[in-house]
Amino acid sequence: MNEDTLQQPVIGSVLRASTVGFVCGTRSQEIVHPSFGAFVRTRHGQLNDIDVIGLIHAISIDDDPLVRQLILANNIKPSVERDQRENRMVPVEIGVVNVGYVQVGHIYHNLPPRPPLSLDPVQLCDTETILRFTERLDFLRLVLNANGDFPTEELVAAALLQAASVRPPGERLDFLIGAGRRLTGLLANDLPRLQHVLQLIKPG
């Protein structure tokens, strides 16, 4: 793990996991960094040697009776807002779909052989990891075929746009054109989906 990876903000800890995805829990004031389609990786502990790489497909805030009452009262003061966000353990969940893993420094574009463990920290991927991981676009197939309850085309588009944005400006268009070609192959039998996702990644 390089220095950049270590300095990336921890956005939460693994709450529950499987080989196809995981959910990490966080406190509400810590949801500034993660966004839909962002690349994240778990940081393995002593019992595991695998860092799972995934894409954020959902950020949800659980129902909370106290918050309901505050909304009903319609009189939320800044100190109350700070109390709710900084003091209370408001359960925020970040859903992640697995797209690859890192084992002994090697990146694999496949589902991890084992899920991350509960409480493993979850970080945003640094630029170098995103660049290395998206040199190959095998993860697109995994996402497009995922059975999760999330919009796969939008997730693919968000991930590709993020991958393009970490590249030098002169390489971004070529990267997106290459991704479009790959998507054309994967969605050749589903033209409406293909058209939609190409529209989403179209530059400018």
Partner: protein
Amino acid sequence: MGRALAARNLTLNERLDAAWERLMAQDDLGVIHERVQLARERDVGFRGAAPLGEPVNAAYPLPPLPARATILAADGSQVYPSIHAAALYYLTNIGVFVYHHGTDDLPEQITEPALFYSEKDVRDENGQAITNTAVNARRNVAELQMLARETWNRRNADSPLLAISDGPLLFWVGKDVPDGKRLEQDYLGALVHLHDTHASAASTYGQSASLIGYVDRPTSAFVVSLLHLLGLDDDDVREAALKSNGDLEGLADQPLMFRLLKPGERSAVMVQQSPQNKRYHDKGESYEIAFFYLNVGQSGAYHLARVEMPMWVARSQPLLDQVHALTFDQCQLMWRYPYALTRADEVAVIRAAERAQLDDMIEIELLRNEQIVERSEKLESKTVRHGRTRYRPK
């Protein structure tokens, strides 16, 4: 059931009309005080309210809100001792929440858990496990002590202090509480500590410290009892006549106050007549407990609270106004209940899962110390029936 409830409401409405008429006729505070004094002298067990110095048939409007204040609220929860558990113990957890009214400062939350397992803590003088009532009493005292300590620690604040306790301020223990006398003394000691805080804040910093006990949706009938007393002839002021509220029996103060108070308004300040309150008075005039009713509802909606306070607050108009305005404001944050108390409760609560975790930790420690862990068959059978499994270290 519907017909029966409707019939009961009809008679209650008739009693309410009668009580309202009687309340509106009480224009002379002197007459009321004379009648209460007569009941006291005859020692006839009058447990109603006596007005302090304000007409009882008037509503008092919401005063301006202080620009700043520090509001502290305390609440507690407990794990009761169980003879079916692996070890006899009990746990209390006290939470204090500090809200900085008028600033954007982050509120503070403080918790203080305490585990009790020594023989003197968990058994009475006959060797019997102490009752849940005893644990409640000890927790109540610990709540007020912690509230007093945290208020004292903030006496140099540049704004008034308001300490909020959950429930009535009059502390009373039953005979099944082994150290009842000491607990009562400790409770009064905490009251004195809060009063000292007020004195120190006032003399050194020009500020104040108030205490209230917040009672949500009170079922008390102190005003109704007073109206019953006032409806009697002098000769009828006898114990037998005061055992009930006569033709007003069954009526609580709540519907009467709903007629009297619009949202934000409070009733007159009154003092409940009781032997416990007399003991507080005997400790010092500042410690007798007074109260007012407050309609904490919003725009036309009614929700009643009884706000209790010691006499050093009740006798000071500025403190009374602060308490009135700040309590109402707290309730508006949280839809009819003080925000600080809600959060203190949340900070203090011990959930079932946490209790199970504690039980496991205690069993592990017992095993580490080569103790035989025996849980009662009753508890084991419950665990099996409810499908719960427990991890047991080898």
